[in-house]
């Protein structure tokens, strides 16, 4: 349950941030497009993630206290920025319904939410990379978090705005490039980090590797699903005249999402903290 709560939280919030990044880019390219579905989805995902994060706490009704130490705690910073991101997203949805003619304000909010979200992902990664868990202490944590944000955001944005971006060739290119780049970086970062973990003298690092070894099937599924989802998308948008086929976009989205969710669960499941005799 503990891993599940954190998996849901981080996946939902990162997907929400990713969607918002592409909403901001989309509005920058074409101010007439609203991307209502994508904006609502980002908001709902952010809220679902925030609620899931409470399930991880021993005292969820005291969660507000986690805002007290912004100056020193990465966790406190993350909670601040997640809250600000969700507030900006809610404001956007309210404006889209209440004052849709105020396009520049909506675009401004989208850009602000995207920037806040990007910083939030950095804080999320810092929580783990600064901990005493050798498995988390590599650059791979940061890369995996940004890769998940970009790939999930891009593909969900595409699925949710398929009609609005049908004629936006540049947007399609940006989405395909983002997914390709994210997945390539993710693979490039994870392989050396696992090699470094194996070469480490830390018993905690070796324990994490042993857990990953026991869950090798799940690990294989993670990569097969992520790569299959990305390749399917790239194959579909291989040239400018390519049409977006809803079923293929949906399949690609499911594959990529399942891959990232399985990967995130493994990220938490393989956590072993150093300790006396495990240094």
């Amino acid at each position: 349950m503990e891993h599940l709560a954190l998996t849901i939280f981080s996946i939902c919030v990162q997907a929400a941030i990713g969607i918002m990044i592409f909403v901001a880019i989309g509005r920058l390219l074409n101010k007439e497009k609203i991307f209502k579905n994508a904006t609502i989805a980002a908001t709902v995902l952010g809220i679902v993630g925030a609620v899931a994060s409470l399930m991880h706490l021993g005292k969820p009704f005291s969660a507000i206290k986690a805002l007290y130490q912004f100056g020193s705690s990465w966790l406190s910073r993350e909670i601040w920025f997640t809250a600000i991101f969700i507030l900006l997203a809610i404001l956007m949805v309210v404006l889209i319904y209440a004052k849709p003619q105020n396009k520049s304000a909506i675009s401004g909010l989208a850009a602000a939410a995207a920037v806040v979200g990007l910083i939030d992902v950095f804080f999320m990664a810092a929580i783990y990379s600064s901990s005493s868990v050798p498995f988390w202490q590599s650059i791979a944590t940061l890369v995996e978090f940004y890769a998940a944000t970009l790939s999930m955001g891009a593909i969900l944005f595409l699925l949710l705005s398929i009609k609005e971006i049908a004629e936006m060739a540049t947007m399609k290119k940006i989405i395909a490039l983002a997914v390709a780049l994210a997945v390539i970086l993710q693979v490039a970062a994870v392989v050396p980090s696992l090699i470094a973990l194996g070469a480490s003298s830390s018993a905690a690092a070796h324990s994490s590797l042993a857990i990953l070894g026991n869950m090798a099937v799940a690990n294989a599924f993670k990569w097969i699903f992520i790569l299959a989802g990305a390749l399917l998308l790239l194959w579909m948008v291989k040239d400018e005249l390519s049409k977006l086929v809803t079923n293929i976009v949906l399949s690609s989205t499911i594959l990529l999402l399942v891959g990232q969710i399985v990967g995130r669960y493994l990220f938490y499941a393989a956590m072993v903290v150093t300790g006396v005799g495990l240094s």
Binding site: G58, S76, S132, M271, G275, S279
Partner: protein, 192 residues
């Protein structure tokens, strides 16, 4: 006020666990919860075998990662430099459990918050020793000003041995009179 911490004489420890039990009793800890733990490490190949006992608890680090990471401020430094935990501020996020390189903070399932050694602050405020110190029949454990403990128990004291994480990360307020096996970082030992 100088930095306070524990001194542990490994050379005299017989592994009786009186300190562990006294701590568990004083803090009314449930099954599976320990604020002080006595561990037994052994290594080598017959006839060249060796080992040691280690009584370990919160090291009240001068640069504690649990304090830096705590989002609520529940983990904090007291005036005497010990790391204290405010139960009213704790929300049970368990981030300190990920941060402490010694895996000291424990999640108390019945209270839904974290718990750890507070150096028996109530006893100390009343002029007494922590429960673990007074329980030790070999007088292996002491608590006090780190500089004064160093003066009293010699210059060959360390705050890092082969089974402990690097002291560089958090500057533990811990003094150990260690045996040769604990000081040899190439000597492989296992907990038994």
């Amino acid at each position: 006020m100088g930095q306070k911490g524990f001194y542990f004489n490994m050379l005299e420890c017989k592994g009786c666990k009186a300190c562990q039990i006294a701590c568990k009793d004083k803090n009314d800890l449930k099954v599976g919860e320990l604020y002080r733990k006595v561990m037994n490490f052994e290594g080598g190949i017959y006839p060249n075998v060796g080992g040691f006992y280690l009584s370990t608890s919160c090291n009240h680090c001068a640069e504690a990662k649990c304090v830096a990471g705590c989002p609520t401020g529940a983990m904090h430094y007291a005036e005497d430099g010990t790391v204290q935990h405010n139960k009213d501020l704790c929300i049970g996020c368990k981030y300190c459990m990920w941060n402490c390189p010694y895996s000291v903070p424990q999640y108390l399932e019945d209270k839904n918050i974290i718990g750890k050694c507070d150096t028996c602050k109530d006893l100390r405020d009343a002029g007494e020793n922590p429960a673990c110190v007074d329980a030790c029949p070999m007088r292996c454990l002491k608590f006090g000003d780190i500089d004064e403990l160093k003066k009293e128990y010699g210059t060959d004291l360390v705050n890092e041995i082969s089974v402990l994480p690097s002291a560089e990360a958090t500057k533990p307020s811990l003094l150990i009179k260690a045996n040769v096996y604990a000081l040899d970082f190439n000597y492989k030992v296992k907990e038994v």
